[in-house]
């Protein structure tokens, strides 16, 4: 083989190797997606299934109470504008993160609630992971339990879904791992006694046994990044909302389980 062909072959092989290294993790085929619920023990499944034993339902009850509390300079409650949550909030959580025209980017459910609090109720926003925020998001998301996660196909969302996908597939942290390497490529395998889930956000806010409390998707994402020995962003960072959006898009069609129980 002459040297020019050899050079061309070498270049081809190198670029192939480079593209393999940079290639995103293979997406899970839509019909192979499964919720981490399936991997739980019989007892933990029972905890989620039974509304009288699911600890997340305590927060739902708090959220139901908060829904009718008049707050802020407006003296209005959520109910004053939104009426009965069972009707007005049906399907709402399945559509979030959703595009917010005013800010020109997607917002998640927590941000949407805070926008309403500040702009409409003229009240202080709730902090992430505060008792009130968890209660309200749990109550609102419960109204979508059993509903399929929306397609998130609003064209304005596409660039943000792409950003979330890029973050999902980017290697990071001291372990130099990407989310996709575990959750797309190695789901179902075991890591230190636990089954690697596909990581679909079907049940947020979720009662995680590790936390012994309810927690948001952002809290879970921060834990993942800490676990990967990467620097977590602050709560509310746009990078997280983009990731949440990508994860919800990736889970489109899967049923909402809020309030889910997870180990």
């Amino acid at each position: 083989m002459n040297s020019r062909v050899r050079l061309a072959l070498a270049v081809a092989l190198l670029s192939l190797a480079a593209s393999l290294l940079a290639a995103p993790a293979a997406e899970i085929p839509l019909n192979e997606r499964r919720s981490a619920y399936e991997d739980m023990s019989r007892d933990n499944k029972a905890m989620q299934d039974d509304d009288t034993s699911n600890p997340g339902m305590l927060a739902v009850l708090d959220g139901e109470a908060l829904w009718s509390v008049k707050v802020g300079a407006s003296g209005k409650s959520c109910a004053d504008c939104h009426g009965d949550a069972k009707t007005s909030m049906k399907g709402a959580a399945s559509r979030y993160p959703a595009f917010d025209t005013a800010s020109g980017r997607p917002v998640n459910l927590e941000q949407r609630i805070n926008l309403s609090r500040q702009q409409d109720q003229k009240a202080q926003p709730f902090a992430y992971e505060s008792k009130e925020m968890l209660a309200l998001t749990a109550y609102v998301a419960l109204q979508s339990r059993g509903e399929p996660i929306a397609a998130h196909d609003d064209p304005r969302l596409k660039p943000f879904i792409d950003k979330g996908r890029a973050a999902f597939n980017q290697r990071q942290g001291q372990l130099n791992l990407s989310c996709g390497q575990c959750h797309d490529d190695n789901w179902g395998k075991h890591l230190a006694g636990n089954t690697v889930p596909q990581a679909h956000p079907t049940g947020y806010p979720t009662y995680r046994l590790e936390w012994q409390s309810l927690g948001s998707l952002q809290r879970r994402l921060r834990n993942c990044m800490i676990g990967m020995r990467a620097e977590p962003y602050s709560y509310g960072a746009p990078e997280y909302v983009d990731m949440e959006l990508f994860l919800m898009w990736r889970a489109r069609g899967m049923k909402i389980e809020t309030p889910a129980v997870r180990p």
Binding site: M40, S41, R42, D43, N44, A46, M47, E129, L191, A192, G193, N194, V196, L209, E210, Q212, R219, R222, N223, C224, I226, G227, M228, P263
Partner: protein
């Protein structure tokens, strides 16, 4: 744990049997483990379970729960969720109306979460 048991049982002889402790052999997260305890007893005024006590071998504190029952219970069966610090034995002891003590011991394996988080 032995001392905690003696505080409840005194010098009485504890026999294995009658009481059943239901715990999963392999636990996903030791922070919340579903635990059932039941005693085979007719729960009549003459023959009933007075108390159920559950102990742990390796938790920092040996007691888990102590329950007082009587014939009004109808069934000597409880369920709760407990914390188990490490792979260990859990012992359930019941005291019957005739003063006898019975026990059941279960070994539980606790797996730790893979991605350990810091406190927020």
């Amino acid at each position: 744990m032995k001392q905690a048991i003696r505080q409840v049982v005194g010098e009485a002889h504890v026999k294995p049997g009658k009481i059943k402790l239901d715990l999963p052999p392999l636990v996903e997260n030791g922070n919340s483990v579903t635990m059932g305890v039941m005693v085979d007893s007719p729960m009549t005024a003459k023959d009933y379970v007075k108390a159920i006590h559950v102990f742990t071998e390796k938790n920092p504190q040996p007691n888990i729960i102590s329950v007082q029952l009587g014939p009004r219970a109808g069934k000597a069966e409880i369920q709760t969720r407990v914390r188990l610090a490490d792979t260990q034995s859990v012992v359930a002891i019941c005291e019957l109306s005739d003063g006898s003590f019975w026990s059941h011991t279960v070994d539980v394996i606790i797996t730790l979460g893979a991605c350990l988080e810091e406190l927020p």
